[in-house]
């Protein structure tokens, strides 16, 4: 069913862009990238799991615990985890807690700019069901309706130890080859887009930001 839907509109409309700017932006849908042979993929997964680059985007109060994680108390560099300032090069996106609508727009943008394979680590209870802010008019309740999530870390606020545990869990999943979030996003693209456009009122960007 999804297949025929995709084949119908392979070109994104980019309706929300002004006419004179449409040609400037990419209008191709994301396609699920093909998985290589078993042994190659295992080898690459081993490398991916041992060099996780976190996108330096403190989207919420979870960012406060990333700093102790980077310093000598809980030294995350030991595990080959580093922070990259640009989404093009980073592989892990840590959603630091609640995401307000204004931030969610930037989260989607940054997530789509990251290169496959990319992993999402949702931090804090507020990404799971809204947590403290379940009835706030400006924070979303479930992040997994807007971008695919690989690992959740509960708590408000989660301790650095639990962050490390979550990253270990992520490593395990990568080794097992279960983290195909990007493909999932490409396959259910229309559903994700519909959810995003439902709450992001002024959508003044292309439908898919390469």
């Amino acid at each position: 069913m999804k297949k025929e839907k995709q084949s119908k509109n392979l070109i994104l409309p980019n309706n929300d862009l002004p006419e004179n700017e449409r040609h400037l932006f990419c209008d191709a849908r994301p396609q699920p990238s093909k998985i290589l042979g078993k042994y190659v993929e295992n080898f690459l997964n081993w490398a991916r799991a041992n060099s996780l680059w976190i996108l330096g985007f403190g989207t919420g109060c979870g960012a406060i615990e990333l700093r102790p994680l980077m310093t000598s108390r809980y030294d995350m560099f030991r595990y080959g985890i580093a922070a990259r300032p640009t989404p093009r090069q980073s592989t892990v996106f840590i959603i630091g807690g609640y995401a307000s609508v204004k931030t969610l727009k930037r989260i989607v943008k940054s997530y789509e700019q990251m290169q496959d394979p990319k992993f999402v680590l949702a931090l804090g209870s507020c990404t799971i069901n809204g947590g403290m802010y379940w009835d706030s008019y400006n924070t979303i309740n479930r992040i997994d309706h807007y971008i695919p999530v690989d690992v959740y870390i509960t708590g408000c606020m989660p301790r650095p130890e639990s962050l490390i545990a979550g990253l270990d869990e992520l490593k395990k999943r990568i080794m097992e080859g279960k983290t195909l979030g990007a493909n999932q996003y490409a396959e259910n693209f229309d559903w994700y887009k519909a959810n995003q456009k439902k709450i992001i009122k002024d959508w003044n960007m292309p439908d898919f930001n390469w």
Binding site: V101, K102, G130, Y137, I140, N141, R142, K201
Partner: protein
């Protein structure tokens, strides 16, 4: 402080004065005298520091209460100036010419309460929200829980109790009084 307010009563029409604690007191001033009164406080009585501009939605009396909190570094006193404006045409004079940061506060009030401050720079731009198309969220008649349940995707299984009844049933399961 009381004396100061009393002798200011001659010039401006001031109403209820309350000494909240040893450092804080509040006074009500009519809408048309508000900005001259604040200017006088700033220039003559050197209440030179504007701490806060905020509003309270008195929906029962159909009023908005705008509160300016000024601080005097000589007397070490906080003075809250209350101004009541009509909730149906919420327009107030701007004080951005007195303090630079007042423009930001008024911008927030415009967005959160829908109170307009004509002439305040950038008062119409949204400060916190983006693409908000509902009634201003801080008004009492905006029901955020209803909005959330309609807009976002609440995860099933979240139970909310009224803590009073919940605790009573938990502690005294036998008697179901009240």
């Amino acid at each position: 402080m009381k004396t100061l307010i009393d002798e200011l009563k001659k010039k401006y029409e001031l109403k209820k004065f309350t000494q909240q604690n040893e450092f804080t007191c509040f006074v009500t001033v009519s809408k048309k005298h508000a900005v001259p009164f604040i200017t006088h406080l700033r220039d003559v009585e050197n209440f030179t520091h504007l701490s806060l501009v905020t509003a309270v939605d008195r929906i029962e009396e159909d009023l908005f209460q705008i509160t300016y909190i000024l601080h005097n570094y000589q007397l070490k006193m906080d003075l809250g100036v209350r101004v009541f404006i009509n909730r149906n045409e919420p327009v107030m004079e701007s004080i951005h010419h007195l303090w630079k940061q007042a423009a930001t506060y008024q911008r927030e009030l415009k967005e959160m309460f829908g109170i307009d401050f004509p002439g305040s720079p950038g008062v119409d731009e949204s400060l916190f929200l983006e693409g908000w198309d509902n009634i201003p969220p801080m008004r009492r008649d905006f029901d955020t829980r209803k909005y959330v349940s309609e807009t976002y995707f609440p995860r099933k299984g979240r139970k909310t109790h009224d803590p009073a009844t919940y605790m009573r049933n938990k502690l005294y399961p036998t008697e179901n009084s009240q």
